[in-house]
């Protein structure tokens, strides 16, 4: 039982990561691929935060009467990663808009016939 309590967090993170991965490699629609990429990304964030958690600890903001804090380092890494993640997502979405205006489609399997357009 303690085995499950020790690891369930990581397992669900792996599950989410694989769900995102599946969307990225199986979906044809580029917007959906971006959503999948974001799910993948969020699961990585969650992995880091789970690693930084200390049982019985509290948020790393000093307050009276609290002795045990969670690890602040993963929080810093992930905080900036989230903002950068959204910035890169927006570049991806902008590329999709350009692809739509150039090719008239955002479905991956429909590009095949149009390869010589490039």
């Amino acid at each position: 039982m303690s085995f499950i309590v020790d690891y369930y967090n990581y397992w669900i993170v792996v599950f989410l990561m694989m769900a995102g991965f599946y969307i990225v490699i199986s979906a044809n629609n580029l917007v959906k691929k971006i959503v999948g990429l974001n799910i993948f990304q969020t699961s990585v964030f969650m992995m880091y935060i789970s690693i930084g958690k200390v049982s019985g600890g509290s948020a790393p903001i000093v307050a009276e009467g609290i002795t045990s804090y969670s690890n602040p380092l993963p929080h810093v890494l992930i905080l900036t990663a989230i903002v950068v993640g959204v910035a890169t997502t927006s570049v991806g979405l902008a590329l999709i808009i350009r692809i739509k205006s150039a090719y008239g489609t955002v479905e991956e399997n429909e590009f095949k016939d149009k390869e010589n357009l490039i």
Partner: protein, 100 residues
């Protein structure tokens, strides 16, 4: 303390129900309604959870949730206006698809 825990669990189950509504909706509007309810209940849940863990000074996050939930709703409505003027037959047919 017990009351707080009970309230948190009640709100959590309401969130689960709203999520179920959003996942399995008859129409698009029902889905949005579920999402909206999920958002407002989350605000309350964060507030209750802060008291439960003994550090209620993190209410800022609840405020952000409330703000972003509202902005998200407005964005969704705006999206509807676009698709309604853009290709109304298609957008109405998609909502019909989900309806039946």
């Amino acid at each position: 303390m017990l009351v707080l825990a009970a309230t948190s669990i009640a709100i959590l189950s309401v969130m689960a129900l709203a999520l179920a509504r959003a996942l399995k909706a008859d129409t698009v509007y029902d889905r949005i309604l579920g999402v909206n309810m999920f958002g407002t209940k989350t605000v309350l849940f964060i507030a209750a959870m802060g008291f439960l863990s003994g550090r209620p000074d993190f209410l800022d996050i609840a405020i952000v949730y409330a703000l972003i939930n509202f902005i998200g709703m407005v964005a969704v409505l705006r999206f509807f206006e676009y698709t309604a003027t853009d290709d109304s037959p298609e957008s109405s047919s998609t909502s019909e698809d989900q309806c039946r």
